[in-house]
């Protein structure tokens, strides 16, 4: 059974995309749209089949992984690239949760998108996204990864702007794509840097790893270090774009304009973690670049802290989750920055479960409240929607790192690795722990405002509050189970290291190399566990104290934060505006108004000169035909005279 070809995995969503896309286009002309039953079944079936293939392959995967070159892609002088797939420990984990969670969320969407005009279109996009994401994690070279990389960005664009009647959604989608594009250029240039170092073959991950090992064993690290550092930096820019890190993070909160399942799938569980995946995939390269690693750590730390603070101020339930996602991604980057790639991937894994559960729960809440997203108008929903509340509370425990839940194991592991990362380790640890406290505070605020206290919305809307249908609840419950138990794949404190062993063939050597760079004192892991638990409890306590008494300000118009909170929240938007958008606009203005006018003036001047010369010539071109003939007679006379004088005739 293990000899299933790898290309089956991306094939299923691709076929589904084509089928659903055709259905969407064909049925869009009609009044009713396609039958939701068939569309939904198709949309779930194909990702589920992919998941089945992945599961079968994962079960029987050999230690070194499976590699498969499909065909040649680009073959020109100077550059060759193949379409090839690689299924190893890292791709296995990514694929398992991408296809698994993808299937669950697709199922959830059937309920969520019920009755939408673009029902088939939505699932076509979702399947296209799954295809791109699978290609991203399955490919064996950077160029093909880039295909998935831009593909997921494109799907994110399409899905954020899914409800395209509202221009604001489109603007959010444009913003997401353009900001991602900035990162993508970093990715592209990074690839070119690598090509400069080692030819086009080096874009293959195996080749890159062996290349790095070769220069390490040969001791030539110093020679290529500057170029490689630049490469690493460029790839990191790509990752900041995709994973919403400082400075390219402003698109993610805006991306919440899309349907909630999209936020769950793309902007929480899968796509935004592809930056972390890339860092881990290129771990062997990053491990020898200390400067870049430091930058990654600092950026990750700043992002985690800033986003957690911004999360405190949000009133929109999805925005809170968005900032929380950014913050958690910061954790993952911090871990990657200290070369703890396995820990960061582990956090990606657990985060996918609990964040997807949180988003789906939020989606169920929004669904129940008929589109209301402002937390100030919620409250007391635990009675009306008990299942959703349970799911969200479990996920809440997971995200704040409550002992026993998934987030506890992964976050704990990251903090531990941070502490042991070197001389700056304790400082990183303290900030990480502090961020964990804030996380608990804003998540507690979310849970309290949404589910406890009194309902603060209008009376008539209270009538309609209802629990979500079964096809939405089932995925939520499964994800909630994941949020509780996913952590036990690598419970370091109680001695389970299944996850680490699974990743070891991929990132083990890089981490071993990094570990040799600095030796840290061994600390009992139970101390970290205890401190982590303490942080979570402290955060919950603060949240209860501050928000538990239902001192919630009345909702005014916009759900966006105001005043100093807004300054904090939109700080990077301002940075983008003044450092990116306005200069470009000024440049465009100069081009349009100054340069173009100068060129037009030149053109006009030349034209005027020609016209004047022409007018001069037309003075002879008089109105009277007779005079013109007379001129020609005079001309003939002159010619004859010339001939006579020069003696041509005589």
């Amino acid at each position: 059974m293990t000899n299933l070809p790898l290309w089956l995995i991306p094939l299923f969503p691709l076929v589904a995309t084509i089928l659903l896309g055709t259905i969407a286009v064909v049925s869009s002309g009609g009044k009713k749209g396609a039958a939701e039953g068939i569309v939904g079944a198709l949309a779930v079936l194909f990702p589920a089949m992919s998941f089945a293939v992945v599961a079968i392959l994962a079960y029987g995967m050999p230690e070194a992984g499976i590699r498969e070159t499909l065909c040649n892609w680009i073959d020109i002088p100077l550059f060759k690239a193949d379409i090839g797939f690689m299924f190893d420990g890292l791709s296995r984990i990514m694929l398992l949760f991408v296809t698994g969670i993808g299937t669950l969320i697709t199922m959830y969407s059937i309920g969520y998108m019920h009755g939408d005009r673009g029902f088939a279109r939505f699932f076509a996009y979702i399947n296209l996204f799954l295809f791109s994401m699978i290609v991203l994690v399955l490919s064996d070279n950077l160029l093909l990864t880039f295909l998935g990389w831009e593909g997921v960005g494109l799907c994110s664009y399409l899905l954020i702007g899914f409800w395209n009647k509202d221009v604001n959604n489109c603007k959010a989608a444009n913003k997401a794509f353009i900001v991602n594009r900035v990162g993508d250029i970093g990715f592209l240039l990074g690839m070119l840097c690598l090509v400069t170092v080692g030819g086009s073959g080096i874009l293959n991950y195996d080749a890159l790893t062996s290349f790095i090992q070769m220069i390490m064993t040969a001791g030539h690290v110093e020679i290529v270090l500057p170029v490689l550092s630049l490469t690493g930096l460029l790839f990191f820019i790509g990752c900041t774009g995709k994973s919403a890190q400082i400075p390219l993070l402003t698109w993610l909160p805006d991306a919440m304009a899309g349907p909630t399942p999209v936020s769950a799938l793309i902007h929480a569980a899968t796509m935004v973690t592809s930056g972390v995946y890339l860092l881990a995939r290129l771990g062997s390269m990053f491990a020898i670049l200390p400067v870049v690693l430091d930058i990654i750590t600092v950026i990750g730390m700043l992002t985690a802290f800033w986003a957690a603070m911004a999360g405190l101020f949000q009133n929109d339930i999805k925005k809170v989750l968005a900032y929380s996602t950014i913050s958690q991604l910061g954790y993952m980057f911090m871990a990657a920055g200290v070369c703890a790639f396995d820990a960061s991937i582990f956090h990606v894994f657990t985060h996918a479960f609990f964040k997807a559960a949180l988003f789906l729960g939020a989606g169920a809440v929004i669904h129940a409240l008929a589109g209301e997203q402002d937390m100030r108008k919620m409250g007391g929903l635990v009675k009306k929607t008990p299942v959703t509340a349970c799911v969200m509370i479990f996920a809440f425990f997971a995200i704040i790192g409550f002992p026993g839940f998934a987030g506890f194991w992964s976050k704990d592991l990251i903090l531990e690795r941070l502490f042991m990362s070197g001389p700056m380790g304790p400082a990183f640890y303290v900030i990480g722990l502090f961020t964990a406290v804030i996380t608990a505070v804003y998540m507690g605020r979310l849970i309290i405002l949404t589910f406890f206290g009194e309902y603060r919305g209008s009376k008539e809307s209270e009538e309609h509050i209802h629990e979500a249908p079964a096809c939405m609840l089932l995925p939520m419950v499964i994800l909630a189970f994941g949020a509780i138990f996913a952590g036990y794949l690598w419970a370091d404190s109680i001695g389970i290291t299944f996850f680490r062993d699974s990743l070891a063939p991929v990132v083990g050597s890089a981490q071993a190399y990094a570990a040799t760079m600095h030796s840290a004192a061994h600390v009992n892991p139970m101390i970290f566990a205890g401190l982590g638990t303490l942080a979570a409890l402290l955060g919950m306590f603060i949240a209860y104290k501050v928000y538990g008494n239902a001192r919630v300000p009345a909702a005014k118009g916009s759900s966006a934060p105001e005043g100093r909170k807004a300054t904090w929240t939109f700080f990077f938007d301002y940075v983008h505006k003044y450092c990116g958008i306005i200069p470009v606009q000024v440049l465009a203005w100069i081009c349009d108004v100054v340069v173009d006018k100068i060129l037009q003036a030149t053109q006009w001047t030349l034209g005027a000169i020609a016209t004047i010369l022409g007018d001069g010539a037309t003075v002879i071109q008089v109105r009277k035909v007779r005079l013109q003939v007379a001129f020609s007679v005079a001309g003939v006379a002159a010619l004859v005279l010339v001939v006579l004088l020069t003696g041509g005739l005589i």
Partner: protein, 572 residues
């Protein structure tokens, strides 16, 4: 034969179209469609047939020049693909115009066929004068079509277009004539050799005049004044042809005429590359501010072609396939976008972006195509645009990181303006009714869909495009040699009557090495150098062989030359 048909048959088709009734657009559109389809099929056959050349036919002699002008066509990968673009876009234009301009459909079809013939001639001509003839001839049907079928300011647009392009190529005509007084004939090789004899200043002047013609046609930054107004005022199907196929004549000229003929020093090369990049950035910035849909597309097209020109003058080894893929991708993509914009204009009655919007809900098939092609023009991986832009980026990276960075900046800007364009046209709320004209017809939608599918296919398997590109592979060199032999055999026969001493001698290895090094100093890449020298040596060797057989000498030296050359090339 294929080449002759592709160049001459469009004109015949145009004449045949005259025979159809003006009052009955249905029958003339059917005839035009059949013709167009046949030409597309022929151009696909041309691509499949690889390198081909016709027998050179002596056409006429320009008084004062040494040799005759040949009617001589040859196709290599680049030209064949450009011919494909010209025929394919013409076909779609004929299909699209059927819905738009019913009244004078016959005349439109006549113009399109004439334009297609001239473009095919431009891309297939092997003789410089023939090339120039077609290069100029393209302008006439295009200008007439603009003046006859364009928008409100069509006369102004047609005048601007004609004056700019004709004035731009006038210096080229003069310097070409001057070159012809020195060269043996107007084929590429003899022009290149003739140029070597001139002083450096004259060479530079001739180069500048040649560059000007192509720079205006492409257009490149300071010479783009005609472009926006022409593309926006021309009927949309024609704009598609203009941008998709005709503007390629400029880039084609850079590759097929400038690079082989002129010894390029680095100053010119880097100037042209930066001009190309400046065009790219400028076009993108202008597109950001454009309020007219067709103008936006015009500037976007200018931006992409700027990138292509920068790629050409990066002169890296990967340049040729990279630029070819980029050109094919841009031709299909920009062409399709113009067709779509034309449909939008037809439905809404306006091109103003602020007055459009909400088409997604109104006509889903149109919007699907529009969105898909818009995204494809962003060079998303998996489309041909990505392969083109990535490989061009690779070429530029060779010239320096700064160039690549500028191009990266352009790519970001392209995302910005294209997404804004998509949003303004198909998203949001409809600000007017869309009942002004007929909606997307089935044939129209299908043909644009085919273009989109082609973009995807080339994106995943660019070898379809790049494999046809063996610019001067052995077969072509052989044919060129044969042609040269024929031509010079005649001359030799003439010369025999007078003085038989003038038979040319084969080049010695020293001479070849000298030529090689001079070419290298002028920035030719290994492959180009090799192919050029193979041509020279091939022609020379064939001649030498003849003379040596007559003289009864040993002819083993000629292969030795080639071996030495190969060795040299591989050493490089």
């Amino acid at each position: 034969m294929l080449l002759h048909i592709l160049v001459l048959a469009p004109f015949i088709a145009a004449i045949l179209m005259v025979a159809t009734s003006k009052e009955d657009p249905k029958s003339s559109s059917r005839l035009a469609f059949i013709f167009g389809l046949a030409f597309v099929a022929l151009s696909v056959m041309l691509i499949a047939a690889g390198n081909k050349a016709t027998d050179p036919i002596e056409w006429f002699r320009i008084p004062g020049t040494k040799g005759p002008v040949y009617y001589y066509l040859y196709s290599h990968g680049l030209g064949a693909w450009m011919v494909f673009l010209s025929t394919a876009l013409s076909l779609v234009a004929l299909v699209s115009a059927r819905v738009t301009s019913c009244k004078n459909y016959r005349n439109f079809a006549i113009g399109i066929f004439a334009l297609m013939g001239a473009m095919n001639g431009t891309f297939l001509a092997a003789d410089a004068v023939l090339f120039f003839f077609f290069f100029e001839a393209m302008v006439i049907p295009a200008a007439i079509l603009i003046a006859g079928f364009g928008g409100e300011k069509r006369r102004e647009a047609a005048m601007t277009f004609a004056i700019y392009t004709l004035v731009g190529s006038a210096p080229m005509m003069i310097s070409l004539l001057y070159l012809l007084t020195i060269a043996d004939n107007s084929l590429l090789l003899s022009l290149a050799m003739a140029l070597q004899q001139l002083p450096a200043g004259t060479q530079a002047a001739i180069l500048a005049s040649f560059l000007l013609a192509f720079v205006v046609k492409t257009p490149i930054f300071p010479f783009h004044g005609w472009q926006a107004i022409t593309y926006s005022e021309a009927p949309a199907p024609l704009s598609a042809i203009l941008t998709g196929a005709m503007s390629k004549a400029g880039v084609f000229g850079f590759i097929a005429w400038i690079l082989p003929i002129f010894p390029l020093n680095m100053g010119i090369v880097s100037t042209m590359m930066w001009l190309g990049l400046a065009t790219a950035v400028y076009g993108a910035l202008m597109a950001l501010r454009a309020t007219d849909g067709k103008k936006l597309l015009a500037f976007s097209s200018m931006s992409h072609l700027g990138i292509a020109v920068a790629g050409v003058f990066s002169l890296s080894e990967a340049m040729l396939p990279a630029v070819l893929v980029l050109l094919v991708a841009h031709g299909l993509c920009a062409g399709a976008q113009f067709f779509l914009m034309g449909i939008a204009e037809r439905m809404a009655g306006t091109r103003e972006l602020d007055k459009l919007g909400g088409l997604a809900g109104n006509s889903p098939v149109f919007s699907t195509l529009f969105g898909a092609l818009g995204v494809m023009s962003l060079a998303v991986p998996g489309t041909a645009g990505f392969v083109g832009e990535f490989t061009v980026l690779l070429s530029l990276w060779d010239m320096g990181p700064l160039a690549a960075l500028v191009m990266g900046f352009t790519m970001i800007l392209s995302a910005a303006y294209m997404l804004r364009f998509i949003q303004k046209v198909i998203f949001g709320k409809a600000s007017g009714s869309y009942d002004n004209g007929p909606r997307t017809s089935g044939l129209e939608g299908a043909s644009i869909g085919v273009m989109a599918v082609l973009l995807l296919v080339f994106g995943f398997h660019p070898a379809f495009v790049t494999d046809s590109l063996h610019l001067f592979d052995e077969e072509a060199v052989e044919q060129m040699t044969d042609a040269g032999k024929d031509a010079s055999a005649e001359e030799a026969a003439e010369a025999d009557e007078g003085d038989s001493e003038e038979l040319p001698q084969a080049m010695t290895p020293e001479e070849i090495a000298q030529l090689d090094s001079s070419l290298k100093a002028n920035g030719f890449s290994d492959e180009e150098r090799k192919s050029l020298i193979t041509q020279v040596v091939g022609a020379e060797a064939a001649l030498a062989l003849e003379s040596r057989v007559q003289a009864g000498l040993d002819s083993a030296a000629a292969p030795t030359n080639e071996e030495a050359l190969n060795k040299e090339a591989s050493n490089d």
